[in-house]
């Protein structure tokens, strides 16, 4: 790798889009306010000026039509990158995602491919309330046929978005709103990070933490805290939920004997449960303590900062939970 600059998560995504669109003329970008505005979080800034309105398409507020258009265009040979402004809006367009894009290849006997990338935003912490703060990746991981990508750093954001754009399957790419401003080292040239390869953020021997998106940072904070108290934590960021690198998690749990899953999505039937279930099945003999989940309780995200803080997972809650499992040996 050559030049490594410190840039933000949003700049990393923007650079990935610029570079891939430069390389591949079949890539088109669609969505609400992706053109003139440059995306309400700035991810598509400059694309309209560079690639013109045929490739960077501002759409009406018709998510079903334009996400479905992404599916149809992918079926017909393009490689669309479509923005769903907030994942909370999936309810107006889910059919095109989960019944169409995600199942076409299978239903049609494997004879076609749908190289579609849907980008969307997740996450609370901005007092954006019940319909603009959700973290719903579990729903997309629940249904077959769509790859689920959840970067936590600028480096991963760029590398995973490039992989996504090049991959021949339907994918949903989740960008946590609190990560956009986070800075980190990112190579200038294009690079691809493979799906299904977890990143062990820090090695440890007492307990394994699996954390996703913004929660990776909270887990690392917790890990630092815990280190001071003599608890050695291994933090794993799976980076993609589908495919999921379960071997990396199993390997770690076999070593530590303890697992805490940290996940901002709702607890009930969520991703954290599934990781817990995999381990409770496949690593049972190695477990020294109950498997814990630090998640968002299944309530609508409240507006008031005091209430929002109450329900969100954070470093403090992670520390507390880890202590419970370490104590219980």
């Amino acid at each position: 790798m050559s030049e490594l600059r410190e840039i933000t998560f949003v700049e990393a995504l923007n650079e990935a889009l610029h570079q891939e669109m430069e390389r591949d003329p079949t890539i088109v970008v669609m969505g609400e306010d992706v053109g003139v505005y440059g995306g309400i979080f700035g991810v598509t800034k400059g694309l309209l000026e560079r690639f013109g309105p045929d490739r960077v398409v501002d759409t009406p507020i018709s998510e079903t039509a334009f996400i479905g258009a992404g599916v149809g265009a992918a079926a017909a040979g393009l490689r669309p990158v479509v923005e769903l402004m907030f994942v909370d809006f999936f309810g107006v367009c889910m059919d095109q995602i989960y019944n169409q894009a995600a199942k076409m290849r299978y239903m049609f006997g494997g004879k076609i491919k749908i190289p579609l990338t849907i980008r969307t935003t997740i996450g609370a912490g901005l007092s954006a309330a019940a319909q603009h703060s959700q973290t719903l990746y579990s729903i997309f991981a629940h249904v077959p046929g769509i790859k689920v990508i959840v970067p936590s750093t600028p480096y991963d954001a760029k590398g995973l978005l490039i992989s996504a754009v090049r991959d021949d399957n339907p994918k949903i790419f989740f960008e946590h709103k609190l990560l956009y401003g986070v800075r980190g080292p990112v190579p200038k040239e294009p690079y691809a990070i493979p799906f299904g390869v977890a990143d062990v953020k820090t090695e440890g021997s007492d307990v394994t933490i699996v954390a996703v998106a913004y929660m990776v940072h909270e887990a690392l904070k917790a890990s630092n805290e815990l280190k001071k108290e003599g608890v050695s934590v291994e933090v794993i960021d799976p980076r993609t939920l589908v495919p999921f690198d379960k071997e990396a998690v199993f390997k770690s749990v076999r070593k530590t004997g303890r697992l805490v899953v940290v996940d901002e999505d709702y607890d009930r039937c969520g991703f954290a449960s599934w990781v817990a279930a995999l381990v409770a099945d496949e690593c049972f003999g190695y477990l020294d303590a109950p498997i814990k989940r630090v998640t968002t309780p299944t309530v609508p995200i409240p507006f008031s900062p005091t209430l929002e803080k109450e329900i969100l997972p954070n470093a403090e809650k992670i520390v507390k939970t880890v202590k419970e499992v370490v104590k219980k040996v």
Binding site: Y37, P53, L126, Q131, H132, P297, V299, F303, S304, T306
Partner: protein, 328 residues
């Protein structure tokens, strides 16, 4: 015929909305209000002109830009301001925030964070009104951008076939965030065809009219016909109101998509200014109007004080109200 009292009440509501929104803008800039806030300043004539026809038992559904609808319907602004501050004394006990203020007592079925989602809700409320046979009506406010959302389009059809007492009010403030509702340049694609949403409504079987949304009396007159039609059991109507928002789409919007000149041009036809001129021409004394304005400002200040002095909800309240039964 509009009585002078009614006219002054309408004026009061318009200046109250404006004072509220201007103040919220300041508070947001000062960092005293969190979250996503969409202001209604500039569009007051629409909410006030329409809701002036409503009575107890009627309902409205609203949008992400709901403060104006709330105030027009008579939601207490102390509660609203406290809600924006996330306080326990807020209209929704701090749980909803700007995008989710509702007050069923006064017929306000809720602001809504999902564009177009008020359409089906309005269909349902109108279905209930018709079922009760009470002569009550429902108003569905929605933006120009919302008109291309499936939820709204399906609602037009449903309201038409069920002949519901429902008035669709389109607040065409020229933009859906950065997209012009009608535009000719390539870089600002049209979000609708050249055909108007009013014309579209007719094709769904719903009579419609295009209205000067900066003129509260024009809105009032158009709404009068639509509400009467609905109360008489003759079915839905649509009003396509041409208006303008003065602030950014949301607070913090850099507004790259429009020029200062354009904003200034629209402000020349400010709905409050226009209405004031009309009232004065009609014989209302300037001082009366100044008093109303002062009263509105004072009320807003009082609301801010009330909000700031109110406590935050206790953390345990995060777990109540999920269901009518305790949380599980």
């Amino acid at each position: 015929m509009l009585t002078q009292d009614k006219l002054l009440e309408m004026y009061y509501k318009m200046v109250l909305i404006r004072a509220f929104e201007d103040r919220v803008h300041e508070l947001f800039v000062q960092g005293r209000i969190p979250g996503f806030v969409h202001l209604y300043a500039g569009e007051e004539a629409v909410a006030v002109g329409v809701t002036s026809h409503l009575r107890k038992g009627d309902y409205i559904t609203s949008t992400h830009r709901g403060h104006g609808h709330c105030i027009a319907m008579g939601v207490d602004i102390k509660g609203m301001m406290a809600e924006l501050f996330g306080r326990k004394s807020g209209t929704c006990r701090g749980k909803g925030g700007s995008m989710h203020i509702a007050d069923f007592e006064v017929g306000m079925l809720g602001a809504n964070g999902i564009v177009g989602a008020g359409g089906p809700l309005a269909v349902g409320a109108a279905f209930a009104a018709k079922y009760r046979g009470s002569g009550d009506v429902v108003v569905c406010f929605a933006g120009d951008g919302a008109q291309n959302q499936g939820a709204v389009l399906e609602s037009l059809n449903a309201a038409a076939i069920w002949k519901l007492p429902l008035i669709f009010v389109v607040e065409d403030n020229q933009y859906a965030i950065s997209l012009r509702s009608l535009s000719s340049t390539k870089l600002q694609p049209r979000i609708s065809t050249a055909r108007s949403v009013a014309e579209r409504a007719v094709a769904f079987g719903i009579p419609s009219v295009t209205v000067d949304g900066m003129d509260v009396l024009a809105v009032y007159e158009a709404a009068k016909a639509a509400v009467e039609r609905a109360r008489a059991g003759e079915g839905p109507s649509l009003l396509d109101c041409k208006t303008y928002r003065y602030y950014g789409h949301f607070e913090g919007d850099p507004m790259v998509y429009r020029s200062v000149e354009e904003v200034e041009e629209w402000k020349k036809r400010d709905p409050i200014k226009l209405f004031r001129e009309r009232l004065v021409r009609g014989g209302v004394v300037e001082e009366v109007l100044d008093d109303i304005r002062r009263k509105a400002s004072l009320e807003v200040e009082e609301a801010v004080r009330f909000a700031e002095e109110s406590p935050y909800p206790e953390p345990s309240e995060a777990y109540t109200d999920v269901f009518t039964d305790p949380y599980y």
